[in-house]
């Protein structure tokens, strides 16, 4: 009979890994089971923007904590605190900017409004068509492609077992413990955390849960290395542009423009018809990009539920099972909310409240 873990985490993204680390620190014998490799999902392919200016008001305290954790990770994740500027190019966008940034400021983010002249001082290579802008000194970015390697080290350090290339295909809880079926054998654990990102709906179904999880297909593009253009993280009042230039000179362009495909198909594609406005917006904001070439555009799945708040808490109706996912801005917030989840599993009161999945799911079907 295989070993019995105190906790099995399905999903080796940031959320699952952070929760596993905390649980192991708290003394639980923990395993992370990942269908591909650590950080191969959204956690490894996202734009890495750490911007309080694009965080939801209600999630601001979590985002601020998330920033602190990434800052501590520092070099290991390519962390840079550069400050960030959000731009409005017309009156409608200026109103949106004023209204939203005021609320975010109230929620604790140190955001200030700045004049177009100040923008030109801070970033001389930005478009001169800015009509309004905001600034947050806390903003910056990290390198999401290092997520997997970073968490691999952390998980190793606290003694979490890692099982990669191991999809969980069925969950049996008839014998008391959770028995996870995988192509390479059964994994047994007394507690279970589903942190399956965009695949959370499918994983929930293995427990008989019908989770209203959907996936967005976000697009990111990167240019080859070029001369220095911008030093801060550049955003747009609508949130539809994030842009930063890495120290090596490559420029990363995101903003949540939608590709095609779905988690069920197992693949997603860049949609040239949405890539076009994404790149145009970037070019409009930073005209000097006309000297750059795009070397790669890609997509990843970002999960959400209808209210766009996280699923983080006990699985409704199933003892010792927990759900974690659908965190908007989950790269920024992930390490912190994952840690809170670890605390909940350990039986501790989390520092900030979690987001009870029971708001969507009332009963679990008997499995």
């Amino acid at each position: 009979m295989s070993a019995l873990y105190d906790l099995a985490v399905i999903g080796g993204g940031i959320l699952g890994s952070a929760a596993a680390c905390r649980a192991a620190e708290g003394g639980m014998r923990t395993i992370v089971v990942e269908q591909q490799t650590l950080g191969s999902g959204a956690s490894g392919v996202n734009a890495g923007t750490l911007s309080l200016q694009i965080k939801r008001v209600k999630l601001m305290p979590y985002a601020i904590k998330g920033h602190e954790l990434w800052e501590r990770a520092g070099e290991r994740v390519g962390f840079h605190k550069t400050g960030g500027i959000t731009l409005a190019f017309n009156q409608r966008e200026a109103e949106l900017l004023h209204e939203r940034m005021a609320l975010k400021r109230e929620a604790g983010a140190p955001i200030e409004l700045i004049t177009p002249a100040r923008v030109a001082e801070l970033e001389p290579n930005l478009s001169r068509q800015v009509v309004a802008a905001s600034w947050c000194a806390e903003d910056g970015y990290a390198n999401a492609s290092l997520s997997g390697a970073y968490y691999r080290t952390l998980l190793d350090t606290v003694g979490v077992d890692i099982r990669e290339r191991t999809p969980v295909t069925a969950i049996d809880r008839s014998g008391g413990a959770f028995e996870l079926a995988t192509p390479t054998g059964t994994i047994r654990a007394t507690r279970l955390l589903l942190a399956c990102g965009a695949w959370l709906k499918a994983a929930g179904a293995l427990l008989g849960l019908d989770l209203p999880v959907r996936a967005r297909v976000n697009t990111v593009s990167v240019t080859e290395r070029g001369p220095a253009l911008v030093g801060t993280v550049i955003g747009h009042a609508t949130g539809l542009l994030t842009l930063k230039q890495k120290p090596n000179g490559s420029v990363l362009i995101g903003g949540g423009w939608q590709g095609t495909g779905s988690p069920d198909e197992g693949r997603s594609w860049v949609d040239p018809t949405t890539l076009l406005p994404n790149l145009r917006l970037a070019m409009f904001a930073v005209p000097g990009l006309d000297r750059f070439r795009v070397v790669r555009s890609w997509t990843g799945f970002e999960a959400n539920v209808p209210d766009f708040y996280p699923l983080a808490g006990a699985a409704p109706g199933i003892d010792n099972a927990f759900l974690l996912g659908c965190v908007r801005g989950g790269y920024t917030i992930g390490p912190y909310i994952g840690t809170l989840m670890g605390d909940l599993i350990l039986g501790h009161e989390p520092e900030l409240p979690l987001f009870d999945p029971g708001r969507f799911v009332t009963t679990a079907a008997a499995a």
């Binding site: 080859e224 290395r225 001369p227 006309d290 000297r291 750059f292 070439r293």
Partner: protein, 92 residues
Amino acid sequence: MAGDLRIGSAWARTVSFRFDGELLTAREGETLAAALYAQGRRTLRMSRDDSGPRGAFCFMGVCQECVVSIDGRLTEACRTPVHNGLVVESVR
């Protein structure tokens, strides 16, 4: 490396172009990479990483080693035909 590497002598019109300010000649329609290579201009830029010299490698638009700047835009020299008056800068 001395001399010209072009085979034979019956050529179409000769054109001139500038590479980093220097006036060079090419056969009209020849690609920039071939024209520079044939005249011993094999170094097109310095690597950012090891600061070693780099030049055209694949001659088929794949490796990107031959990238130069024309009108401020990055272009593969191996896919750019030379025409009279072309001004080419190397990429830092």
